[in-house]
């Protein structure tokens, strides 16, 4: 087992050697890697490292390599959502978060593998092939930000960015034994994030520890005028993290420990809750009665929005283009050949849900159920400070196990999607192992109350050693 890397270690490493050397050692590791965590490795990043070595940089991430999910736009680096339809597309602009990273001196080392258009829980639908779980290469790394989590676990990047529409940061963080945060909706600008479901998703950081996640949030968070749904001000989480949960009130929603939960996962989570109690927190059970409807509501909303968001991929301006007698035929073939099966399925379902005669039954109904789910969170969080649940009901499943059965794949998201419906922040931290596979604890907070969940996660991390180790070299 290797030692997990972190930002402060990298910075002292850079101080001792150079950004270029540190970057090269990462590029070397990536080149030898078997887990397929990157869709594009940006070798030209060496130029930027040299520039920082030569001219210096006082940014908080000066010279630190960062891996960025392949659905976050990077000027001059291909951004494909791991879809054939975006074959050869290179954005002429940087996403807001990438601008922020660069202004702090970070170096984008590459784009990470993901489920095509972030639609999945296993990173198996990528046009570049699946990413493997570094803890067990027969298992999936989770998804959709599987690459972003796997490259942290296998030390092919110290920190990364993912996106979380229904659990896409937290699920792979849980399966790969790293820390991943889904910020409050509106905290991080979505400008440059290729939309899957606009009203649900946020960009979030993944790292080996909570402090690094806090640093990354300070860098990428804050208001951006180019995203109308962006609200918050700049934060300073990194300097306010304390090992202190004294008096923290924890709510345990029973509905998240229901059918389908792996007993070892359940046990680990309860151990974690007991640990919090030992550390001075209290817990009580809370009820969130609409939880079982969240999954359907989530998928209806996500697919409906996706069907519209993905309409722009028609072969006219960029990406893959098929042949056809006329434009409409060309577009229909481009989309049939360019999108993978799961993406097509979701577009068809979303189109159906919005079509004449079905809007009220599906989309509008889902938005109303969303209100009820959101109210569940408001009620529960009015009595407690945070909620704790298993991030995923099980540990990582086998490659190929669920890919043929869409519904079973959707059901895996049962504990993460309600959070996106409500827009609240949530973090997944490692809290145990089962058969050598990591288990994640989900800590959910109130709107814009990242500081509380970060501090709870940080304290837990300081008093346990679940993320002290790393998988061995994958051969």
């Amino acid at each position: 087992m290797g030692e997990p890397m972190n930002i402060s270690k990298i910075k002292s490493e850079i101080a001792k050697t150079s950004s270029e050397e540190v970057l090269n050692s990462y590029l070397e590791k990536i080149n030898k890697s078997k887990i397929n965590g990157y869709s594009t490795v940006y070798d030209e990043a060496v130029e930027e490292a040299r520039d920082i070595d030569k001219n210096g940089h006082d940014g908080i991430l000066a010279g630190v390599p960062v891996a960025v999910k392949d659905n976050i736009s990077t000027d001059g680096i291909p951004t494909t959502c791991c879809s054939r339809i975006l074959e050869g597309y290179t954005p002429p602009y940087d996403a807001h978060v990438v601008e922020r990273l660069k202004s702090e001196g970070a170096i984008v080392i590459g784009k990470t593998n993901m489920d095509e258009f972030a639609m999945g829980t296993s990173t198996e639908t990528s046009c570049y092939g699946p990413t493997l779980n570094p803890w067990d290469t027969g298992k999936v790394p989770g998804g959709s930000s599987g690459g972003s989590a796997a490259v942290i676990a296998s030390d092919e990047a110290p920190v990364s960015l993912g996106s979380d529409t229904g659990g896409s940061v937290r699920c792979p963080a849980s399966y790969c034994g790293v820390v991943g945060l889904k910020p409050t909706y509106g905290t991080v600008s979505r400008y440059g994030l290729i939309s899957y479901a606009n009203s649900l998703e946020q960009i979030g950081p993944l790292a080996n520890n909570v402090s690094d996640v806090a640093i990354m949030m300070d860098v990428i968070g804050g208001h951006d005028t180019r995203d109308s749904t962006s609200v918050s001000q700049k934060t300073n989480y990194q300097n306010t993290l304390k090992d202190d949960v004294n008096g923290l009130k924890i709510g345990i929603p029973e509905e998240y420990f229901g059918e389908g939960i792996d007993p070892e996962v359940e046990e680990s989570v309860w151990n974690a809750i007991n640990k919090f109690e030992d550390m001075g927190a209290t817990w009580e059970k809370v009820s969130m009665p609409n939880t079982s409807y969240a999954l359907s509501a989530y998928y209806i909303i996500a697919m409906s929005e996706a069907s519209s968001n993905l309409a722009r991929f028609d072969g006219t301006q960029y990406g893959y283009r098929a042949d056809g007698d006329n434009w409409h035929v060309m577009a229909s073939r481009t989309r049939a050949e360019g999108f993978g099966t799961e993406v097509q399925r979701r577009i068809l379902l979303g189109t159906y849900a919005l079509s004449a005669g079905y809007y009220d039954k599906y989309y509008l109904k889902a938005l109303k159920v969303r209100t009820l789910v959101k109210q569940d969170f408001e009620n529960a969080l009015s009595n407690v400070d945070v909620l704790m649940t298993p991030t995923m009901p099980t540990t990582a499943f086998k490659l190929g196990e669920k890919i043929k059965d869409p519904l079973s794949l959707y059901l895996a998201d049962v504990n993460t999607v309600p959070v996106n419906l409500a827009g609240v922040p949530s973090i997944s931290v490692p809290c145990g192992f089962s058969d050598g596979l990591p288990i994640g604890l989900q800590i959910i907070g109130k709107h814009f109350n990242e500081s509380t969940i970060l501090q709870a996660a940080y304290s837990f991390e300081q008093n346990t050693d679940y993320n002290a180790g790393r998988p061995g070299e994958v051969e």
Binding site: S73, P91, Y191, S228, E305, A311, R312, T316, L354, S355
Partner: protein, 473 residues
């Protein structure tokens, strides 16, 4: 008095007005000044619809839309939001258009149009904001095209779609309505009608007993009249043959002046409207008082004022207020010279000369108009000469006094000649008698005397005519 309408023509219009006087587009910071730009040089990730880009609402576009709504006597909605209208077309870079759906920014207004038959009210159903698609050119014509070329410079321009109730009863009336609408919106200074694509019209039209067709792609007021005339004729002929007019969307071919049906599968739509998740709702009704204050004097009010303030005729008042630039031009002129005279010169003469040349009043300078009118009122030139001066300026340029001088239009010079003729007649009794006695040559002598007196500046032919004239009085 109602206009005659034996065929039971019912027309409703949808007018797209580009808010082209804004600085930037509806949802991004690209300039609205693209008309002379190279194709695809006035775009950004947002209006190209590049993956990951997000729209942000232009505040002034919303206030401009409210201004138009208020000027059309509409109610401004309490709360609204933008929707996505989903359909596929190469000029639509995102595969959906951001528009308004169930709560348009303005609704329930009206415009009163005047005609020889009296006043007629056309009700405005709604006015909503949306973004313009790009511009498509067919290589060849639309039916037999080899491909399309697309320019996204126009993509994302702020549009206001104004929808009328089916209150229009003839192509001529639709043109009058459009002229009035254009005039009102130009008064608001939110739009310049001279720019290409500034106002585009779709028309719904039916005859009594037939289905409605929608004619798209009409880009001018004249075009609207032609398209509607063609469509009425087409529908009448179908009905005359006992056929049935099918409900469909037709494309107006401006060059051929006819409408063409589009194949139905591509025209079949299910727009799957849903609220745009990337934009926040709008709550702007509380701004109505503020926006109302910014409303300028509108055409009808200005016409009333011209009548009472300047004492001009109804016809002049109407003519002068039917175009904001003309009304402003007139008022500038009227500051310096008698308003009634100014009204007549601007409305009767200048406007006619401009129309004839398809020019706007911008082609003529206020100071030139003032100096021309002054020359007439001071009796320096004749009215006929003044018209000539206006024509010369429009056709060749130049300043009025130079043109008068170069063309010898000063009345004073005519007087000199006429004075010389009178004197010559008085001073040469013998020659005059000879002339009346039938001696033609004596006329030549008299002309010579006049020429001598005017030092050769007079035109001999004119002098001869003048002499004959005066001798025979």
């Amino acid at each position: 008095m109602a206009e005659e309408n034996p065929d039971g023509v019912v027309i409703g219009l949808e007018i797209h007005v580009q808010l082209n006087k804004l600085n930037s587009k509806m949802f991004c910071a690209c300039s609205t000044d693209y008309h002379n730009s190279e194709p695809n040089s006035n775009t950004c990730p947002v209006c190209l619809g590049l993956p990951g880009s997000l729209p942000v609402i232009n505040e002034k576009a919303v206030e401009s839309a409210m201004k138009v709504g208020l000027a059309l006597n509409c109610d401004i909605v309490e709360q609204t939001q933008f929707h996505r209208k989903n359909y596929f077309y190469p000029d639509l870079p995102k595969g959906f258009q951001i528009t308004q759906y169930d709560y348009p920014i303005a609704n329930d207004g009206k415009i009163v149009i005047e005609s020889d038959e009296g006043e007629h009210v056309v009700r405005i159903k709604r006015a909503h904001m949306e973004e313009d698609p790009g511009r498509m050119m067919h290589i060849g014509n639309i039916e037999k095209s080899k491909g399309t070329l697309i320019d996204y410079n126009r993509s994302g321009m702020a549009l206001l779609e104004i929808v009328t109730e089916p209150d229009i009863r003839s192509p001529k009336e639709s043109r009058r309505f459009l002229d009035k609408l254009r005039n009102i919106i130009e008064y608001l200074e939110v739009f310049d009608s001279n720019l290409e694509g500034a106002m585009r019209v779709d028309a719904n039209i039916s005859l009594q007993g037939g289905s409605r067709t929608e004619v798209k792609n009409i880009s001018s007021h004249k075009g609207a009249e032609r398209a509607l005339l063609y469509e009425i004729m087409r529908q009448k002929n179908i009905m005359r043959r006992g056929g049935e007019v099918t409900m469909e969307t037709r494309h107006f071919d401006e060059e051929k002046g006819c409408t063409v049906g589009l194949r139905s599968k591509e025209a079949e739509h299910d727009y799957r409207y849903f609220p745009e998740p990337d934009l926040t709702p709008l709550r702007v009704a509380d701004r109505v008082p503020k926006v109302t204050k910014t409303l300028p004097e509108l055409p009808d009010a200005k016409r009333e004022r011209f009548l009472s303030q300047y004492g001009m005729t109804e016809m002049h008042a109407k003519a002068l207020t039917s175009d904001i630039r003309v009304s402003e031009f007139f008022e500038e002129v009227a500051k310096e010279v008698d308003p009634k005279t100014s009204a007549s010169w601007v409305a009767d003469v200048l406007k006619g000369e401009l129309n004839y040349r398809e020019l706007t009043v911008d082609a003529f300078k206020v100071e030139d108009m003032i100096s021309i009118i002054q020359m007439v009122t001071q009796d320096k030139i004749t009215e006929k000469s003044a018209v000539e001066v206006i024509r010369q300026i429009l056709d060749y340029g130049g300043k009025p006094d130079e043109i008068v001088r170069e063309n010898g239009l000063l009345k004073v010079e005519e007087d000199v000649v006429s004075k010389a003729v009178t004197e010559t007649i008085q001073e040469n009794e013998q020659a005059v008698n000879d002339y009346f006695a039938g001696k033609e040559k004596s006329l030549n002598y008299l002309v010579g005397q006049v020429m001598k007196k005017t030092r050769g500046r007079a035109d001999a032919k004119e002098v001869r005519e003048l002499l004959v004239d005066k001798l025979n009085k």
